[in-house]
Amino acid sequence: MEEYTLDIPVEPPKELRSLFIPIPPAYVEDVYKSDDFLILVGPQHPGSGHMRLIVRVKGDIIQEVIPDPGYVHRSIEKLAENRLYIQNIPLVERPAIMDAANFNLGYIRVIEEALDIEVPERAKYIRTMLAELCRVGTHLYDAAILAVFLGHTTGFMYPFGIRELICEALVRVTGARFTSSFIIPGGVRRDVDNSTLKWIYDMTLAMERRLKSFERIFIKNPTVIARLKDVGVLTKEEAIKYGVVGPFLRASGVEYDVRKIEPYEVYDELTWDIPVSDAGDGYHRFLVRVNEVAQSLSIVRQCIKQMPEGRVISEQIAENGEDIRGSFYDSLYDLVLPAGEYTTLTEGARGTIIYSIISDGESNVPYRVRIVTPGWLYLRGFMESMKGERLADLQAIYGSFGYFPPEADR
């Protein structure tokens, strides 16, 4: 069909100016003249998180999506430069509180790598267990958000119900439901007793039974498959080009998992696998994470089974190997990293977390802390995958990426 441009002066609505849109007025004018439609999704919108998406649609087809992030930018990198190394532990886990252990672990590993701190075996197992529990929790959270974006309220409730078990496990181990701040340089803050470990072991099995219900009602639901299949496809080449990370990269067929390629903690001592799919569409992005949940639960069980006895805090840090209580301040406040740049990769639930700390060798505050979160890395791929899809798919793709703006904005 041939298109005719209308040569009528079009005035973009005034409300766009007052709403403070970061795109130039010329762009808005161009959209209006070419008979497209500009939709602002978010930040106060039932189908968006803490960000705004400026969507240009032609009919029902998305032409371009411009992100407007930063609604949850809490200046973590600047604040980290002004606090003691040890005080940054709660700070670095705030980007994604449901994935706190992974964020915490990545930061601690930078310090340990710089100071060559040897971590006791038992502490490594506890850390791995916590990291995997948080991974399960985050995947469940994202599944719930995906469900509510597709209008499936039961699909929202079930994962959050199951997440209560994760929270309960974290409370029993660390004392907090989300922000555990439990991993410290040289180990963990407290030993975990055997009854708690047994509880967590049983919990993973009970959780698998509940996940079956979730599978029947949501994962295998035909309407869900219809909404997500062949939607927002990122091919392998595109995924690499846009630097997508984590399960979303694996859904596009790249076998990249930091836990495999650069194993840390005890991942190389356990048997597990990374799920990979070649489809690269929304449904398989979701399915990869569903399979990861099963793998993670198995890792948690292996951790509990193989956990050795012994100290949980390194001798280099504190004398008491069971509990840091009482000596937390004295052993940790004056950490000074040798000069240089230290970078670690950690596989968070949503992908690779990069911590890069630059120390000047004299201060007990870092000179520069660079945190690159998975959300920020795959934002570009997320935007690209929406081009050419329908407007209703925006939420489906959003959910399939599990995009969590606080994590991306930091």
């Binding site: 078990l165 309960e168 009970a206 295998k220 799920p275 990979v276 004398e319 840091i324 009482g326 301040y329």
Partner: protein
């Protein structure tokens, strides 16, 4: 590596999935796996290690400032009474309990209180006076509830008896330490340690120094009265020359 198959969507499979989803819903409608904690009427039981509102024991406090200085949110600020005691601003507190773990004497302790709604931010700025006792909370609940989990089931167990919100203070396993001067010759005589010491346990005296009977001058002698020292370490951190240390003292 597990390579996932592309999902099939033939009509038979689709119908089967419809039936499964429908069946699950009907099963739940008939016999629900309910897990709701009906909060205002019942209270979830939390373990002893739960990080809740902090209870302060004035008797144990040695005014060492560790809690104030470790707080990542700067929520703890010391207030001078007969000694410097911590006051907590709950409008900033993030319940990380770094302070509880930092306290060398166990003066700060956790509790299971966590559900308080404040009407104003000024009320949240609590001084040591207010955190010495467990807050009295408006309570409506009549029972406690706990998650019971075994390998197959997950359900709620409701009990009529209420658990205590207080947590018994755990003893702190730290060897007692006292300040000592490691390198008395380098003392500048600035008296920062004397002024900062809450117990007045440090004395600095001017004295004459002779080295190898040739060079003479004035120096300072720093003396810590160990019977007064609580081991707070303020002087250690204050000393510009870093000549003070905390040393373990035997039982």
């Amino acid at each position: 590596m597990i390579r996932l198959e592309k999902v099939k969507t033939d009509p038979v499979e689709t119908l089967k999935r419809h039936a499964e989803a429908f069946g699950e819903a009907v099963r739940q409608a008939i016999k629900p796996d309910r897990i709701t904690v009906e909060y205002p009427r019942e209270r979830r039981k939390y373990p002893e290690c739960f990080r809740g509102f902090i209870v302060f024991d004035k008797e144990k406090c040695i005014s060492c400032f560790r809690c104030a200085q470790i707080c990542p949110a700067n929520a703890i600020q010391m207030e001078y009474f007969e000694n410097a005691y911590p006051g907590i601003d709950y409008a900033k507190c993030i319940f990380c309990h770094f302070c509880v773990d930092s306290c060398p004497t166990g003066a700060l302790n956790t509790s299971k209180v966590h559900d308080i709604a404040f009407k104003a931010m000024e009320e949240m700025r609590l001084s040591a006076k207010h955190i010495a006792k467990l807050p009295e909370i408006v309570r409506e609940e009549i029972q406690t509830v706990e998650y019971y989990v075994d390998r197959n089931t997950w359900k709620l167990v409701r009990k009529k008896e209420m658990d205590k919100l207080e947590v018994a203070p755990k003893p702190v396993v730290v060897k007692p330490r006292k300040a000592a001067c490691a390198d008395p010759e380098n003392c500048l005589g600035c008296r920062l340690c004397v002024n900062v010491c809450p117990q007045n346990a440090i004395k600095v005296e001017r004295c004459e120094i002779t080295i190898e009977e040739e060079v003479t001058g004035t120096g300072c002698i720093l003396e810590v009265q160990t019977e007064l020292c609580t081991g707070c370490g303020l002087c250690v951190r204050q000393c510009p020359m870093q000549i003070l240390t905390l040393e373990e003292v035997g039982e």
